[in-house]
Structures are given as C-alpha cells and as structure tokens.
Assembly symmetry: C2
Homo-oligomer: 262 residues x 2
C-alpha cells in the first residue's frame, strides 16, 4: 500500500491533475469516482495509473464490484486515504482515481456537430458534453480558448461523455470550416435573432455553435455560421446560462429527429 | 465611510448572508453585484441595507449609473473594500451588496407551476428559477428539503428571478395538492417513463415536478402526479443534471405555447 504522497506514481497523478501541459504531452487525463472509472473500463480505455482505497470503495456494492475489475492490473495501487485525498479534486473522494488515455473516437460522418466557441467555465463545458452524448451527438469541436476538456472539473461534469464523443480541441477558426464542410447548416446561438431555435430543421446535417459566457459567439464563428438562432425568452430576461441554452437546443434537435419536424 | 467589520449594519448583513434562520425571521435576503441590485430597484423591492464601494462601482458605467439610484437613500452606506469583502459571498465582489425584503408576488391564476421537490443543490435551484422566468412561468413551489431559495448561492444563480416569480417555500406535500388544485395535469419528471416530455400538451394548465438530484421525485410527489414523463436519451446515458433536465422541459412547454402543439 502506498502511504507517501512522495511516491513517484502519486507525484505523476498529481501533475496530471493540476497541469494542463502534462496532460497534453502525455495525452492522459484524470477521472475520479466509481461511476467514471466504471465508464472507462466499459469503454476499454487505456488506464495508465489507478489508485484506490479498499475501505472507501467497499462502502458501496458498486465500489466493491469495481475492485474486481482492476484487481491484478499492474497499474493499480492501493493507497492510504490521505494519499487518495492528495490526488483528488473533490472534498470527499469516492475511493478511486485513475489516469486514463484520451479516448480517440472517430467522428461520425453525419449528424449534428457541436462547436464550443471559447466557452470558459469548466462546468458548462462538461454539462454540454453530457447533453451532447444524451442527445446522440457524436462530435464536438472546441475552439481555442475553450476550457481544457481534459481538466478534472470538466471530466466530473461530463460524467463519462469523453468516452462516447469524438472531441477535437484547440481548434483554430482557420481550421474549423474544413471540419464543418460536411454540413450546409451552421447555426450560431446568439442572444438576439429573429429565428427561434425550433424553426431550424435539425433533421438535416448541421452544426451548432455555442459561444463564450460573456461575449457570445466570436466574430469568426458568426462569419462561418449560415444562420443565427435565438431562444425566445420572456421580456426583460437578459440571458440564459450557456450550458442550459446549448442543452435546450440540443434536446430540440433530438425531439425533431425522433418525431419528425414540428 | 464604514471601515470596520464590527459596525452593526455590517454584522447584520453578515448574519443574513450566512444564517438561514435570520433570513427567515426577518424575511430578508442578500443580493450582490450591479445587475442584481439593478433588478431589485427595477422591481421596487424594499432595500433594508445597501453597502457599496464607490471606487469599485465606478469601474463600470453601469455601476456608476447604479450609484445615482441609491444616492441619498438612508439605508445606503459607503464601505471600505475589506468591509465589502466581509459581506460578500464571492471572491471578487462587484462593489455592491444589499439586503432586500423577500418579494411577495401574487400567484398567477393560470399557466404552468414548477414544483422543486427537495432539490438540494443551490446552483440547480437558482438555474431553474432563472429558466422559469425565461419561459414565462409565474409560480414556483419548493417542497420541504429544497435548498433555501434565499441563500446567496441561489440568488446568484437565479439572476433576479426572485423579483419576477411567486415563490412558496417549505411547502409540505400535505399542502401541495391544494396549491396544485387548479390543474388536472401534474407531470413528474422521472428517469424512466414511457411518455416523453414533448408528448404532453403544455398549453393546458399544468404543473411540473422536478425531483431531488440523487433520489428523483419523492413518493408523495409521484402519488400526486397524474403522469410521469421522461427525457429520452441515447442508450447508456444514466441521467441529466437536474437543472438541465428541468430547463429542457420548461422550454418545450414554451415552444408549444408559442407555436401550438407539435
């Protein structure tokens, strides 16, 4: 059992937890908790390091069942509670933390592409990844300036979406048009537009650009968009949270695809 | 200018910021930042105490304009930056904090009622209040166990929704049926139900029950509900964030009301 936070594996995990550069050069990210680690195993993701505390994990049946999955894995280390805390991004760790290879899923050839245009809040980014998966989207493009999709906060809010989406990050708006070339319908979600989001025909291959919390969709994003859409709101309401706004549009897309257009 | 955090007004504000009991006995809550205080003035809410730092507020035009609104108000006190920090719930205060009387808006006689059934996360509660206002809902019922709607975190996420909604809190499920007696359509949002949320006819007077993050709608809530609805999701996706799920349904309601039903 590892009892020192100076252990090299623990130092390695900590560097991945706190340092974007290290995550990027090694193409690893840190996930935490029973549910996320379950998802990683289900997706057959490559586990680089896994640390756990048996006592904490066996508090729940689901945690105990998870131990069976990594017992015997050379990269799995049992650690003391204080060591687990040192590699955790949460106040009350759930007994397991792992560094996992960035999944590389292939972009689907059709469907809707979600573009996060310099979205800054990690919670918003994670929530939108989760909504993207829930609505059957296969591809997400994050432009330069978007919160690191592999940060612990995004991973927590995304709840395993990383294992089900083709995610391109640090995409410059110079390259994005090429990535969006399979669709004629590029919608930018803006605060004010005459076209409501539900007037779009989401059964067509399309892309949805969700912009930065304070500044909205960038000038480059607006230029590439073929149409601007808005979420109609009661008079006097200034704006919606970006994650809520993006999710509302994604679920309308899904509704249309399931029902045929209204 | 108040320079001591021991000043009685400051101590009073602090007690309202941190203590639910004090908020409740005085029927006051604390709001922070230019935008929220603007909303309070617009709504002609009763301001009990207002503290501000001129230097911080005049950094923006909007802040400078706001000062004009409360200059001469007996309850307005200029304070030192460290005093403002002491009554702020945020890391970087925006220069103005106020204790405001709980607004008492009348419940509309028709429309959709949103019921928060022991929703625990203040961010989720605030986000749903904001979505309720944006979709034209007039009445929100919070059952016992829901996060304090007048807590600083809820106030921040709700972005002024408190001044536009009739909010009943601490409602017991024994009393809720009476409050819902004007509608025959009480929908409980659950993880699994055969009826998708968009199959409901939201143009009819209705109520929507959104449940606790971990446990969903309570047994009492399910009993009162006339129908259970779910948000269809891609296979393998466990659940949505409660604020996103509730918002998606509220905006579908609004879409139907604007368009006629699909």
């Amino acid at each position: 059992m590892i009892t020192s936070t100076k252990n090299p594996q623990i130092k390695h995990l900590r560097s991945l937890l706190t340092n974007r550069k290290d995550r990027r050069s090694e193409r690893l990210f840190v996930i935490e908790g029973v549910r996320l680690v379950e998802e990683a195993f289900q997706a057959q993701a490559e586990i680089a390091i896994l640390v756990y505390n048996r006592e904490q994990l066996t508090l729940t049946e689901r945690g105990a069942a998870l131990i069976e999955q990594f017992v015997g894995l050379a990269q799995a280390y049992e650690v003391a509670p204080e060591v687990l805390q040192a590699v955790s991004d949460t106040v009350t760790p759930q007994g397991v933390v792992a560094a996992v290879r960035w999944p590389e899923l292939e972009s689907p050839m059709y469907g809707v592409v979600l573009v996060l245009d310099a979205l800054q809040d990690p919670g918003n980014v994670g929530t939108l990844l989760r909504s993207a998966v829930a609505t059957g989207i296969g591809q997400v493009i994050c432009t330069v300036g978007t919160a690191d999709v592999y940060s612990p906060k995004v991973a927590r809010a995304a709840m395993g979406a990383h294992f089900r989406l083709a995610i391109a990050q640090d995409v410059s708006w110079d390259d994005a048009p090429l990535m969006l070339s399979t669709t004629d319908n590029v919608y930018a979600a803006v605060a004010e537009a005459s076209m409501p989001y539900y007037a779009a025909d989401w059964r067509q291959p399309s892309a949805l650009i969700v912009g930065n919390e304070a500044n909205g969709v960038s000038a480059a994003g607006l230029e590439i968009a073929t149409k601007q859409i808005a979420i109609p709101m009661a008079p006097g309401v200034e704006s919606l949270n970006a994650a809520v706004a993006g999710s509302v549009i994604l679920f309308e897309m899904q509704r249309q695809r399931k029902l045929g257009r209204s």
